[in-house]
């Protein structure tokens, strides 16, 4: 049972990683789309707001069910936290920087640029989770029975 859950855990983290890669791809699609409309970033928004967070929550659940150590469960929840931070960077950046629909400000852009940096950190964290999830797969599922 635990072994199956560990495979599921690795599978979900794999999907999470794929969703993260796609998120960069969709960002480029949105950036290069002409004309720029509200829909230019619809794929980026749908993947970032729905797919990635959902997979991230499932990954945390799978980590717990796979009897991963507490530290790994904690690490698995990092991508979710940082994904929420992604939206907050945009909200706080625009609001605090005084940007409007028509015009950004240098301060707003200085904050909004962090969206890309945080995106890379999310990928790094997700990759780290992946490495440990795979290591967990080859670890013994239960303490060796005492002889």
């Amino acid at each position: 049972m635990t072994l199956v859950m560990r495979r599921v855990y690795v599978g979900i983290v794999g999907l999470l990683l794929a969703s993260g890669v796609l998120q960069f791809y969709f960002a480029a699609v949105g950036a290069f789309a002409r004309p720029q409309t509200d829909d230019s970033f619809s794929l980026h928004l749908a993947n970032g707001r729905m797919v990635f967070p959902l997979l991230a929550v499932l990954a945390i659940g799978a980590a717990a069910l796979a009897k991963a150590p507490g530290r790994l469960i904690g690490l698995t929840s990092v991508p979710l936290g940082l994904a929420i931070l992604q939206s907050l960077i945009v909200a706080v950046g625009n609001a605090l920087g005084g940007a409007t629909e028509q015009r950004t400000t240098p301060l707003a852009l200085a904050i909004l640029g962090l969206h890309a940096i945080n995106g890379m950190i999310i990928m790094g964290a997700t990759s780290a989770v992946m490495a440990r999830a795979r290591a967990l797969l080859s670890a013994p599922t239960a303490p060796a029975p005492a002889r």
Partner: protein, 618 residues
């Protein structure tokens, strides 16, 4: 500090709060005593700062802090206090779980309102509590050496969450039983004869796809009325009867005609699913109404309007006063001498155009001649309009004449999505330029007087730093039929936000009104003759141009000329109070005129008692 900045600061402080509480928990779990103490003290300080920020924000209105005051702050303060007491009394190891609890409490307090928006209900609070409790249990299970009865404890937590989910899924309570329907909206037709002295003005508009060519030569695949975008300008004289026959050639999603800002009888309003069915390809519909409001208006499709209007299904509607026309015949020096230009601003495939001019449109006018520019924002976001080279007056907003408008120079005008401003000035000797969004390289209007050489000077003045003209304090006061101190029969509040909600039966991260999306937002119910006050609060970080069909609203609390508007920009953190007399029976759309936001749920109905609809859907 602006309300929006306060909202941003609160988010930031809440975020640091999550970081410090969780950081303290992790430090405790790692056995780092000093780090734990430092982070716990920081967390307490940050939490107190947040309480203070929320206190200031509360002064801007309860709507901005509701979920923080009733849920987020009490929860994190309570759990945080327990954690600190345990930390002091029993040491770091014992405090691990309570500190995690405080971290998760802070997390749900931050995230939950962002997911569901205003207002925070009991169901949502229970779900959030359940999530925080479940996360704390998991943390307990994995940080405690001793056996933890996780499964037994998970049961009440799950029950808590499920009760919350159940409460959220319960249908919203309906208002008082509907009064019997005496009238059907689609039967509230306009008159069939003009006012005395007026004539019948007949127009035919055929909606079809066409390739249009902008002045620069750029061609755009557009949806058009009669093959052009903007569509033909509909003009009339006060008292005329306007009769428009709409046909649909090949717009598969259907079309209608909505007379934006014109208080037509309900059945002529062009709101599909409410006052008529959308006109399918091959179909037709006749609109008839009296031209009884003078000024600058516009028409556009209301079916799948976010796409239809963006692609070009719109045009200007201008009604001139009858006196002017009578004078024209008698006196050649009267207003007939006025250079009267209608300038719809529209973004075609990302290219901003004034009418069909996407570059500089040039015009020669003899100095001294009166000029009137009617600017219409047909986009879904606001535009900034600046007039360079002359002093001018804003003589009308949304078609309504302002009282004693003063001279303006060096100030820009913000025109909300769907809004109009009329600018008037006598032509000076030099040149005048109208800029959109301070950008002289895009669509501009250049009017040359005698000295044409000054044109470039006029167009290259940098208007970016010009302040925005405050229309709330422009002109001078004049009597109005009601005001801020009137006794209102109905008082509605619309709190605009974002959150998960059902929109047309589909769950989405919607643009919400009082926590719901179209068509689940309860109708504003009025009785004919009611004096109605509406408070519109914007809790979100996007601008919402609010537009009520069938009525113009009086902005309450202006210090200048009375402002009667049909579209007003409620910017992030703003609260607008407006009033109107319910004198046009029917069922009226009441929505955000950022048409993408309307599509994402930000729309509801104003409905009169006794009026029903036979249509369904949008």
């Amino acid at each position: 500090m602006s309300t929006l900045s306060l909202i941003a600061v609160d988010l930031l402080v809440a975020l640091v709060g999550v970081g410090t509480w969780l950081g303290a928990a992790i430090a405790a779990a790692s056995g780092r005593t000093r780090a734990t103490r430092f982070l716990a003290v920081s967390a307490v300080a940050v939490t107190l700062v947040r309480v203070a920020v929320v206190g200031v924000l509360a002064g801007r209105g309860w709507w901005f802090v509701q979920e923080k005051v009733v849920f987020a702050l009490p929860l994190v303060v309570l759990v945080g206090a327990v954690a600190v007491v345990v930390l002091v009394a029993r040491g770091v190891t014992a405090a691990i779980v309570p500190l995690y609890g405080a971290g998760f409490a802070a997390s749900v307090g931050l995230v939950s309102p962002l997911l569901t928006g205003y207002p925070m209900g009991v169901g949502q609070a229970l779900i959030s509590l359940g999530v925080a409790a479940a996360a704390t249990l998991v943390a307990w299970r994995y940080t405690s050496g001793a056996a933890v009865p996780t499964k037994r404890l998970l049961v009440p937590v799950a029950v808590l969450g499920l009760v919350g989910v159940g409460l959220e899924l319960l249908p919203a309570p309906q208002g008082a039983a509907d009064s019997p329907i005496r009238t059907v909206a689609s039967e509230l037709r306009g008159p069939s004869t003009p006012a005395p002295g007026g004539s019948v003005r007949r127009f035919e508009l055929a909606a079809r796809k066409a390739s249009i060519t902008l002045a620069s030569g750029t061609s755009v695949e557009a949806w058009t009325y009669n093959g052009s975008a903007p569509g033909p300008e509909i003009t009339a004289v006060e008292g005329d009867l306007i009769e428009v026959t709409l046909t649909n050639v090949d717009i598969e999603s259907g079309v209608t005609l909505h007379w934006h800002g014109y208080d037509v009888p309900n059945a002529e309003d062009g709101a599909p699913g409410v006052t008529q069915a959308a006109v399918p390809p091959g179909g037709g519909h006749v609109y008839r109404f009296l031209a009884d409001q003078v000024g600058t208006y516009w028409y556009h499709t209301h079916q799948v309007s976010s796409e239809g209007v963006r692609r070009g299904l719109f045009g200007a509607l201008v009604v001139r006063p009858r006196n002017d026309v009578a004078d024209t015949a008698a006196d050649p020096n009267s207003d007939a001498d006025t250079v009267d230009l209608t300038l719809p601003v529209h973004t075609f495939d990302g290219i901003v155009a004034l009418g069909a001019h996407d570059g500089a449109q040039e015009l020669a006018v003899a100095p001294g001649r009166p000029v009137r520019l009617r600017v219409i924002n047909t986009d879904s976001t606001p535009h900034r309009v600046s007039l360079v080279g002359t002093e001018f007056r804003v003589v009308a907003v949304d078609g309504y004449d302002l009282h004693e408008p003063g001279p303006v120079r060096g100030e820009a005008l913000r025109v909300p999505a769907g809004g109009r401003v009329d600018l008037s000035f006598p032509m000076p000797d030099g040149a005048v330029a109208l800029l959109v969004d301070d950008d002289a390289s895009r669509a501009t209007l250049r009017i040359n007087g005698d000295r044409a050489s000054t044109v470039d000077t006029a167009a290259t003045v940098d208007t970016t730093s010009w302040p925005e003209l405050d229309l709330l304090a422009y002109g001078t006061p004049a009597p109005t039929p009601f005001g801020p101190d009137s006794a209102f029969d109905r008082d509605f509040t619309l709190v605009l936000d974002r959150g998960l909600a059902m929109v047309d039966g589909v769950p989405m991260f919607a643009q919400t009104v009082n926590g719901a999306g179209y068509p689940n937002i309860p109708d504003q119910r009025v009785r004919e003759g009611d004096l109605v006050r509406v408070t519109v609060v914007n809790r979100s970080i996007e601008t919402h141009p609010w537009h009520l069909h069938g009525h113009r609203v009086l902005v309450l609390g202006t210090t200048g000329s009375p402002l009667w508007l049909d579209t007003f920009d409620v910017r992030p953190g703003e609260v607008w109070r407006v009033a109107f007399r319910a004198d046009n029976p029917g069922i009226w759309m009441n929505h955000c005129h950022n048409l993408d936001h309307a599509r994402q749920g930000m729309a509801l109905h104003l409905s009169y008692e006794g009026v029903g609809t036979t249509h369904s859907g949008h």
